[in-house]
């Protein structure tokens, strides 16, 4: 003799499978009224207990009763004219569920095997040698990278304004001669064209002063150029426009 433990059933499908097994029922020919009777008997117990699961059992009970009714009615047929067994859907659900229930046993077997295995319990005594952090941080960085970085850093520092007195390697006289010679070859020179030749700021500044000097003594004239933001320099003789006089 044995007791049924109510909690053993994982749901209505499980309970139905239990009846099917216990009573050696052919799953493809389930005696619906008998099964329904058994099922409802069981349901009365869980309802008393107000189990959360009762809802699922009640739903199944109504499905069973519905199937029972359909079994009594004239047979329905599908599009192909074949008789529909009202139990078909339930049978499919039972088989699908059974399939996974079987796998649950398989997993249970794996579980009991794996429970016999223990993994290593402590790892504290393993000798570990980790490269100091700086080695990871400075990976692939050479001394060259270091000095390059230093140079970049200096460049980006905002430059304090310098008040250093520097010896000029260029004189105003030199630049006056330079401009005069240039204007002997060409009648006209653009200002930007003139100073573009120079790389040192100081030479540009000195050339500019020379230009102003030449204008003052009437040796050259300045005029607007066609190019935006520029002006042209041309030769003059004692404040007289050479072109005009020619």
């Amino acid at each position: 003799m044995y007791k049924i433990k109510l909690t053993e059933f994982e749901g209505p499908l499980d309970l139905l499978l239990f009846f099917i097994k216990r009573d050696e029922i052919d799953i493809y020919d389930i005696p619906i009224s008998y099964i329904t009777k058994n099922f409802i008997e069981y349901l009365q117990f869980i309802e008393q207990l107000d189990l959360e699961a009762a809802g699922d059992f009640i739903l199944m009970a109504s499905t069973l009763m519905q199937i029972k009714v359909r079994m009594l009615l004239p047979k329905e047929v599908d599009e192909k004219g074949e008789e529909i067994d009202p139990r078909a859907e339930l049978v499919n659900a039972l088989l699908e569920y059974k399939r996974y229930k079987e796998m649950a046993d398989e997993f249970s077997y794996l579980e009991s095997n794996q429970r016999k295995v223990s993994f290593r319990g402590t790892y504290e005594s393993d000798e570990k040698e980790t490269p100091p952090d700086y080695q990871t941080l400075l990976k692939n960085i050479s001394l060259y990278d270091l000095i390059k970085a230093f140079k970049n850093a200096l460049m980006s520092v905002p430059k304090p304004s310098m008040h250093q007195i520097r010896k000029l390697n260029v004189s105003i006289d030199e630049q006056i001669n330079y401009i005069t010679n240039l204007l002997n070859e060409k009648s006209e020179v653009l200002f930007l064209e003139l100073i573009n030749k120079f790389t040192e700021k100081i030479r540009i500044v000195v050339t500019f002063i020379a230009l102003l000097e030449l204008v003052k003594i009437g040796k050259i004239g300045l005029k607007e150029s066609d190019t935006f933001n520029d002006f042209a320099i041309y030769r003059m003789e004692n404040g007289q426009d050479i072109h005009i006089s020619n």
């Binding site: 097994k21 088989l95 399939r99 794996l110 009991s112 095997n113 429970r115 295995v117």
Partner: protein
């Protein structure tokens, strides 16, 4: 000839390194990480691939077998790890609390098997197969890290999708999800009248434990049921 000799030497050197790495890892160690560690320490041009590692592990295991070691390297959860052999479970169990950890309930195993085979799967899908509300079980499995959430289904309501975890593989001693035992085809189940009979061997295997633990599990009923006469 010389080259061969060098290659052979390499192998031997790395056998111990591989053993040490697996031994020192507190979780199953994938071959990719073994390769990374070796290349990182000894240079990226060291020739070593996953196959070499697998072979080395097999070699090590047959050595352990000959040497009567109480542990061996297991391939589980997408990696390698050392584990004790079954025959020492009794003794080890006395030491640790592991034995006292509860086994999974029938409902949990059932739900887990549905998730394992159908993943990614939504809760409504699980419930439609089990025929019962599965909130509690799914939460328990999440809590135990045996399943986890990964994205949402594109169906109406966009329910969350559940998948199994690496912890799941480790718990059942599976090396990857491809290693799951094959479920029977519906047709095979059809042919089989007394389906649970099929699993008797498995149950026998558990009998010992079940009796020890006296857990109210489904198996117990079956055993009682089938062995009626012997019990009473």
């Amino acid at each position: 000839m010389t080259l061969q000799f060098i290659e052979w030497k390499m192998d031997k050197i790395y056998t111990s390194v591989i053993e040490a790495l697996i031994f020192a890892s507190d979780e199953p160690l994938p071959s990719s990480e073994i390769m990374n560690a070796i290349k990182e320490i000894d240079g990226p041009d060291i020739e070593i691939n996953a196959n070499d590692i697998e072979e080395t592990v097999n070699e090590l295991n047959s050595k352990y077998e000959n040497e009567d070691k109480s542990f061996s390297i297991l391939k589980i959860a997408e990696g390698y790890t050392f584990g004790t052999k079954h025959e020492y479970a009794k003794y080890v169990g006395y030491l640790s609390n592991e034995k006292s950890k509860r086994r999974l309930s029938q409902a949990a195993l059932e739900t887990l098997s549905i998730v394992a085979y159908k993943q990614p799967i939504t809760k409504p899908e699980v419930e439609s197969i089990r025929g019962v509300n599965s909130d509690y079980i799914i939460n328990t499995l999440l809590e135990k890290s045996l399943i986890t959430i990964k994205g949402r289904a594109e169906t109406i309501g966009r329910p969350l999708l559940y998948v199994t975890t690496v912890e799941f593989l480790k718990y059942f001693g599976l090396s990857s999800i491809k290693d799951l035992p094959k479920p029977r085809e519906i047709e095979d189940i059809m042919k089989d009248e007394d389906f649970l009979e099929q699993k008797r061997k498995i149950m026998m295997n558990q009998l010992e434990e079940v009796i020890e633990e006296d857990e109210g599990s489904f198996q117990q009923i079956d055993e009682k049921e089938d062995d009626d006469d012997t019990f009473e």
